[in-house]
């Protein structure tokens, strides 16, 4: 019974880590530019397809495919930011929502045109499949791997934000954009770089997520609520906020689907509405 509980907790944490990895870019765009990017999940989907294609068509090993997905996501993010997104930063939230929903629809249609409507398979390396025994409890090797990857990335991100010059510029821009610009920080460039980084992380998350969330053309729409919720509950000012929000979300979703499967996704929607009622401005406060 207790082992069971720990198993669910573990799966939930792995799932939450994945949500965090995909959503962190969304938090940055919201915190930095007050921009609601509903198409963020499309970058994750892109990463997933790049990963699958690299592995099945080019025979690239899993880890190399993940790196390719990361790079592809970053490049796509930078290109889209330069060409499209920058035209709608100063628009109303309604315009941003419509614009990015339009992009979501186009990405879904393109993906089903190119790759068909079905689920894509992923072949994990043998050492990432099966179970691993830790302290007498069997846990999925891939789940353990996910948690490890996200832990490393979180530490790297924290270091980037708190101990580098670039991180200081990002923090300054989030806290007070006008003052940051007055100090000579090129906020537009800072934003381009963080947008690309956020997209790259989402694409990496998308590649890692194939085995957990699946990959089909409706991906950007299917998980949009989860990504938005991580940001809305966690806030956009810290790395810690979205991380904790994502973990809570992950654990509750896994536990809900395990213990009360008959109500389906209801648990998570109810949790989310409750959290937003109690914390209308997020767990750690949010601007905008």
């Amino acid at each position: 019974m207790l082992n069971h509980l720990i198993g669910i907790l573990f799966d939930g944490v792995a799932y939450g880590s994945l949500l965090f990895l995909i959503s962190i870019g969304l938090a940055v765009t919201l915190g930095l530019m007050n921009f609601i990017n509903l198409a963020h999940g499309a970058f994750a989907m892109l990463g997933g397809y790049v990963c699958v294609l690299a592995m099945t068509r080019a025979g690239v090993p899993f880890f190399a495919a993940l790196v390719i997905a990361f790079v592809a996501g970053g490049v796509a993010g930078a290109v889209f930011e330069r060409l499209l997104y920058r035209h709608v930063y100063r628009r109303s939230h309604l315009d941003q929502v419509l614009f990015t929903i339009g992009l979501v629809f186009m990405s879904i249609a393109s993906a089903s045109y190119l790759f068909g409507p079905g689920q894509q398979p992923v072949h994990l390396p043998a050492y990432l499949t099966g179970q691993v025994r830790i302290a007498g409890i069997d846990v999925g090797a891939y789940r353990l791997f996910l948690i490890g990857v996200v832990a490393v990335i979180t530490i790297a991100l924290t270091w980037l934000v708190e101990h580098t010059r670039f991180g200081a510029q990002v923090r300054a821009a989030v806290d007070n954009r006008i003052a940051a610009e007055g100090l000579g920080i090129d906020v537009a460039r800072v934003f381009s770089v963080t947008f690309a980084l956020g997209s790259a992380l989402a694409a990496l998350g998308g590649g890692l997520a194939i085995d957990v969330l699946g990959l089909d053309p409706t991906f950007p729409l299917k998980y949009i609520v989860y990504f938005l919720l991580v940001v809305a509950v966690g806030g956009a000012r810290t790395i810690k906020g979205p991380l904790i929000a994502a973990l809570i979300l992950g654990v509750f979703d896994v536990a809900g689907k395990y213990y009360v499967p008959q109500v389906g996704s209801f648990v998570i929607y109810a949790l989310m509405v409750t959290m937003l009622v109690i914390f209308p401005n997020g767990l750690f406060g949010r601007r905008g």
């Binding site: 919201l30 609601i36 499209l84 035209h87 709608v88 628009r91 939230h93 309604l94 315009d95 929502v97 419509l98 614009f99 929903i101 339009g102 992009l103 979501v104 629809f105 186009m106 990405s107 879904i108 249609a109 393109s110 089903s112 045109y113 729409l221 949009i224 609520v225 938005l228 919720l229 940001v231 809305a232 008959q262 109500v263 389906g264 996704s265 209801f266 929607y269 109810a270 989310m272 509405v273 937003l276 009622v277 209308p280 401005n281 949010r286 905008g288």
Partner: protein, 320 residues
């Protein structure tokens, strides 16, 4: 009365309302499709009150449409098929749900509202999906038999009754909405839209205005849903789907939010386009729809109505 000059019906508006009447006689084979457009127009009108006048961005307005559809559908399913009282019940059910949801909506800002509306919509969909013994789940609710309107007019396969019934309901609700936005309440809504932070300074509770308009918007959406259930004599689970919420939002911004007429114009354009283009392939339709949205935001803010208003102003200027 404030805003009376603004509230007078113009001849353009009269001409506009002649269109559906002309269409009834000119295109008799399209009456079933026409009633779908009228229902979508009514639904878009309800969103216009919420979005165009109260600036609440909603991604889950189908929640109220679906509630209305299920309310009217379930009544008829269990043997009570009188259409007009069915509409009233649907409006009341949707209004109650709207009032509840509005309490959440006034608490947050745009992002929170977005998620709450989206979440409430998904939650209701999930309930309808799981409660198969009540709603029929994904198979939909069958055996929705509606009694003849006023005991005389049957809902026939040609869609004659459906068309005229939908048109009359649309017109009556439209007159109500038009009256509402030109009333002092409507003016204070406009005040909220233009300067939300200043309204409390002149003694107006923004939250209360938003709760009221959201509730009314929900009630009208419920009526639209009930109309669909009654005229098609079926309730499919897609009445609660995200696609319906997104489509109605697109129809409204395509036509132009904040004019009342925008939703009607947008619904007609959208439905006709969809009818023509989705024959090619569902996936293509979604692609063009996305493209349309992106282009609308980039190049045609305010939709068809804004273009018409600009043209009209330009045309009037030389004479003045």
């Amino acid at each position: 009365m404030i805003g009376v000059a603004d509230a007078r019906w113009t001849r353009y508006e009269s001409a506009f309302w002649l269109l559906p009447v002309v269409a009834y006689f000119a295109l008799p084979t399209y009456r079933p499709f026409g009633s779908q457009i009228l229902i979508a127009g009514l639904f878009a009108l309800s969103l216009d009150l919420v979005l165009g006048y109260a600036r609440i961005v909603s991604l889950g307005h189908a929640a109220f449409f679906g509630l209305g559809a299920y309310a009217a559908g379930l009544l008829a399913h269990h043997g009570y098929g009188e259409p007009l009282s069915g509409l009233v019940v649907a409006a009341v059910v949707a209004a109650l749900a709207g009032a509840l949801a509005s309490l959440l909506i006034v608490r947050g800002q745009d992002l929170t509202r977005l998620i709450v509306t989206l979440g409430v919509g998904l939650m209701l969909y999930e309930i309808a999906n799981r409660a198969t013994s009540i709603t029929g789940g994904v198979d939909g609710l069958p055996d929705v038999s509606i009694k003849p309107l006023f005991g005389v007019f049957r809902f026939d396969i040609d869609g004659n009754t459906a068309y005229l019934y939908s048109l009359c309901v649309l017109f009556v609700v439209f007159c109500f909405a038009r009256r509402l936005v030109h009333s002092p309440f409507g003016l204070s809504l406009r005040g909220v839209r233009e300067g939300e932070r200043r309204m409390p300074a002149i003694g107006i509770s923004v939250a209360r205005k938003l709760v009221i308009v959201y509730t009314i918007g929900a009630a009208i959406a419920g009526i639209a849903g009930a109309l669909l259930a009654q005229t098609t004599q079926f309730v499919g689970i897609d009445v609660l789907g995200f696609a319906r919420s997104a489509d109605i939002l697109i129809m409204l911004v395509l036509g132009g939010a904040g004019y009342l007429y925008g939703g009607l114009v947008g619904a007609a354009i959208f439905m006709i386009l969809q009818d023509r283009l989705s024959d090619l392939s569902a996936a293509y339709w979604q692609f063009w729809l996305g493209m349309l949205l992106v282009l609308l935001v980039l190049f045609a803010r305010g939709g068809v109505m804004a273009v018409l208003v600009t043209l009209a102003a330009r045309w009037r200027k030389p004479r003045a």
